[in-house]
């Protein structure tokens, strides 16, 4: 489903942004940073794969618009 895929990308993007913000925040802990960095890398790879896999679905409406209403 296209919408589900897009939503999933959107959720992953939000998660990635949260991770990036954590690196700039006062919560930053070096001990956690490597795990968080690995998580960010994984999310980025998934977002890239999802984006490349997304296809558009085109439907030509059957109604004939040259007929009088």
């Amino acid at each position: 489903m296209p919408e589900k895929n897009s939503t999933s990308i959107s959720e992953k993007t939000i998660k990635l942004n949260e991770l990036v913000e954590w690196f700039d925040s006062d919560d930053f802990e070096l001990e956690e940073a490597l795990d968080k960095f690995a998580e960010a890398e994984k999310l980025a790879s998934e977002i890239e794969a999802d984006l490349l896999a997304m296809k558009n679905s085109i439907t030509v409406v059957k109604k004939k618009f040259n007929e009088a209403e």
Binding site: N17, N56, K63, N66
Partner: protein, 365 residues
Amino acid sequence: MEKNVPRLTVSDFIALTNQTLEYAYPGVEVEGEVASFKVNQEKYVFFDIKDASGSVNCFMTVWQLRVPIENGMKVIITATPKLTQWGKFSLTVRAIRPSGEGSLKKSFELLREKLDKEGLFAVERKRALPGLPHHVAVISSVQAAGYADFVKILDDRWGGLQIDVASVQVQGAGAPDQMIQALKYFNSQESLPEVIVIIRGGGSADDLSAFNDELLVREIAASRIPTLVGVGHEVDVSLADMVADVRAATPSNAAQILVPDRSEVIRAVRRQVQSLLPRTEQAIDNKILGVRAQLSDVIVAIDRRHTRQQDQLDALRRVLAELDPRKVLTRGYALVRGQIAPGNIIEIEKSDIVITAEVQHARKK
């Protein structure tokens, strides 16, 4: 009466003539210049269409007049020839459109001015398009090059869209009505698209004149769904462009406006992650510097403590050295070992000599 020549009543003759004309010309396009243009009772339009050597009366209703017309304007009419009951020949006009650059431009300017006064092009009316739409409606001809360009760019840039396409004529007399019907269709759907895109590739001014149709322009303005219009090339401006919520220079540009470029998004995501590495490295460097500083403090503390203890030790050594009996001997004193009693043998130690002696006498002081 001539043999085989029909005799008709006047009404029958008129009806037969009209039947013959309708058979011969079910529809005809006539190009000429407008003269004696007038509108009666705000309902009926009368004018003549003429060229250098002829002139024909024309009749139409106001609601069929989709573009402003003036005397002297060159037009193409789509009409049916008719003999009226008063024996007057005229063309019943179904559609009229300006012909030639000058007339097209004049008609465009007249309608632009009229609609502008009504506020249809006002900036305040413009709505923003959805940031990232999921459901997009497209009004175009699926055969047109402009549509193919739009789909190609859209597919290159983004995916996951549900695109409903109303394939309509995008030029010619029927084009405006078809696009109007398509707009009404999308605006009446239960699940409304988030944006309607109207596109057409380049063409002559006449080809693009469908996008200057008054009713089409009003229908775009009335759309509940935000509109994006990309017609012709960059230099072409139509009234449909002007009334749209967002104008695209071309169909390809419409695709660019509609969705982000996934390559750009991927690059941005990669940059985001790469930016974390220097931050982490910086944090590690800071941590190392912190540990080194702490270590340095510890070393200084240990050193200080060591020095203090060394000093104490030295002081004790000095005290001990002072207490060393041998040092006392050097000052001339002697150490006597043995029982002090007359006749006993004792040992007397000086700093440089040990003497063995006999006690001759001992008395208390």
